[in-house]
Structures are given as C-alpha cells and as structure tokens.
Point group: C2
Chain length 197, copies 2
C-alpha cells in the first residue's frame, strides 16, 4: 500500500467484528477521501467511551456513572430481576418487552475452559442482592446455548438457596418462522417443550 | 441507551460506509466488552492518518509524504500514465495487473452538478505533466459510469492537444460471468464493443 499510516489504519479497522481486509480498506478510504471530520469525531468518541465507561456497581452493565440509568430509576419494580449475558440483551429486552423490573448483566457466561467462573460473572454481587430479600422473581434470560443453559442452571440453584423462584424465558420456533428454516437445535428444543393445545 | 458516551460512540460509528444502527451498536459493544486496547489503537491510527495523510504532489493519491511510493519509484516506466478515479483503483490495478507505469489519481470524476470540474480533479497538474513530453501512452481507467466516461472523454481531448495517444480499458461481461447475471448497461456495452471472432 501507498502509505504506512494508511496501512496501519486499515489494519486497525480489522479489529471490528465483521470487518475484513476489503471493508477495512473501504472504510479507511471513505474517511480520508470524503469525511475526515466524521473520522476525527469517531476517533474521539471511541477514546472517550473506552476511557470513561466502566461497569454499573449494581448490575454490571456498561456505564460511565457509578449506577446505570435503569438501576438509578426508582420507578422500576425492584422485586423482579432479569439475568442477561450482555448489555445489548438489556437494550433488546427494553425495546421488545414492557418489563419494568431490574437487570443483572453477567458480561459473559460460565465457561471454565476460558477461565470464566462465578467470580468473573460477578455472582458474589448477585448473591449479595439475593440476601437483601427484595427479589421475588428471577428471570433467567441467558442465551439458549450450552454455556447459557449451564449459567442459567447455576444461577437457578444459587437463587434456590435463598428461596427465590426463577423463570426461564421460552425458546422455540420464532414467531413467523417456518419449521424448515429453523436450525435443528431450536426445533428439537421447541418439540421437547411442547404444551397442551 | 444506558450511557450517553456509549450513545455518542454508536452514533459516530454510523459515519462508516455500510454501518447502520445495529452494526454500530455491535461494534461499540465489541470494543468496550472485549477489546478496549484494539479500540484505542484504532482511534489513534485514525487520528494519525487523518492528521498526516495528504496528497502526492505528483499523482494526487493519498500519502503522508510529498511524493507517494509509486511516483518515487525510479524503476517504473514513466512513459505510461494510467488515469484512475481513486486510490483504491491503484491498489486494485497493482494487484491484478503487471502494469509498471505511473498513475494519476483524480480523487473523483467530473460532476458539474456537484461542483466538481477540471480544477477539482487537478487536471492543471495533469496538463503540466503532458507538457514535459515524457508521456507516450495515457491509459484511461476511470469507471464505466456516465461521469467516468465523460471524464475519460475530457482527458482524452486534453491529451490530444499534446499529441499523446490514449487507450481506454475494456469493459464488458466479466470473465466467468454469465450473461443473464450481468446488468443491462454492461451487457449493452459488451454487445456494442463486439470484435471479430
Ligand atoms: Zn445498573
Ligand atoms: Zn504519487
């Protein structure tokens, strides 16, 4: 390539998910040829966010404050706690449902082989919360993957020790989906989970 | 969204080509949750590149030096000059062909309605180069769009004034392509440009 600075920029863009060599090149040229101002704005926004965003002291989601907006919202139902793997799950649930309880964001899932145990997921923090006696329903909304199920199972047991009842979100064929387009894992799960009609 | 800094980062990512709201969110979470170091490296590479990369004084391509690597390379054939619209075209041609001449990068195409005339494309710089008498073949490799064709035509006439012969790269059905998958403009061009078999 013509320029080593350009080369470094193209290489650096490849750290983004779904960005290969060709897309990285297209992004770099776009910024340099057409929108340098937006490029500088993006670089600065990235630095600011990476520098200042940490985790909510209560629910572990990403925030630049001590407590996130949802945890700080006294209008929400503090008897319900929904367990999710990541901050984007919170956004998805907030957009799709009218749930008005609280969340706990694991920032991952149990994965012993990758060195992710209960401690890495902040489950001590979660247990402190169980001990307050405030939580009446725990909603397990981890992903329907093997690790997500193991994580849900582990937290379910933890909740049981504190006599907190837990529910698991339903999994199956997506609404509007067609059976033969759904992956076999989902289909088998949907079949096993069949209910009286 | 939970955090205003996160929000700004997500918004800023949308300046990249092909990046909508969902992808911008995914990129932001990826960097914050999984690779902050790479995010800082990317931000710094962007700032460095945008700050230091300008245009080659001879061919107008992007470079942080006065003259780009190709223009500085005395081993290349300076009797051949290939006209392209953008730096990425140079990379594509360098990778695909064994062309060893020089380039002139328009950084755009004639587009009077958008205020892009001969001056904006540096055609005065190009004419200076014609005047040296060094160039024997001009290869017009602008894109086969209406504006690309108009630009090629204009430069062809400019070259004619200096008795420099110009060629145009061939356009038609891509090798390995099938007629019924090619857009009608290309097909019509390929048909009109048919040669003796
Ligand atoms: Zn929180
Ligand atoms: Zn150059």
């Amino acid at each position: 390539m013509e320029s080593s600075l350009l080369n470094e920029m193209v290489e650096a863009f490849k750290c983004l998910p779904g960005v290969g060599a060709r897309t990285a090149q297209r992004m770099s040229f776009h910024l340099l040829e057409r929108d340098r101002e937006a490029g500088l704005r993006l670089a600065s926004a990235m630095q600011q966010a990476i520098d200042k965003i940490g985790h909510c002291q209560l629910c572990r989601t990403l925030t630049e404050h001590e407590f996130c907006k949802i945890c700080s919202n006294t209008g929400r139902d503090s008897s319900k706690l929904c367990i999710v793997e990541s901050p984007s799950d919170v956004i998805a649930l907030e957009q799709a449902t009218d749930y008005r309880g609280h969340y706990f964001v694991l920032m991952g899932k149990l994965s012993p082989l990758d060195g992710v145990g209960p401690e890495q997921l902040g489950l001590d923090l979660l247990e402190n919360r169980f001990e307050t006696g405030e939580i009446k329903e725990l909603i397990l909304a981890t992903n329907p993957t093997i690790e997500g199920e193991v994580t849900a199972h582990y937290i379910h047991q933890l909740a049981g020790k504190h006599d907190i009842s837990a529910t698991r979100i339903a999994h199956g064929v997506p609404i509007g989906g067609e059976l033969d387009y759904v992956d076999s894992g989902t289909l088998s799960h949907a079949f096993d989970g069949r209910r009286a009609y």
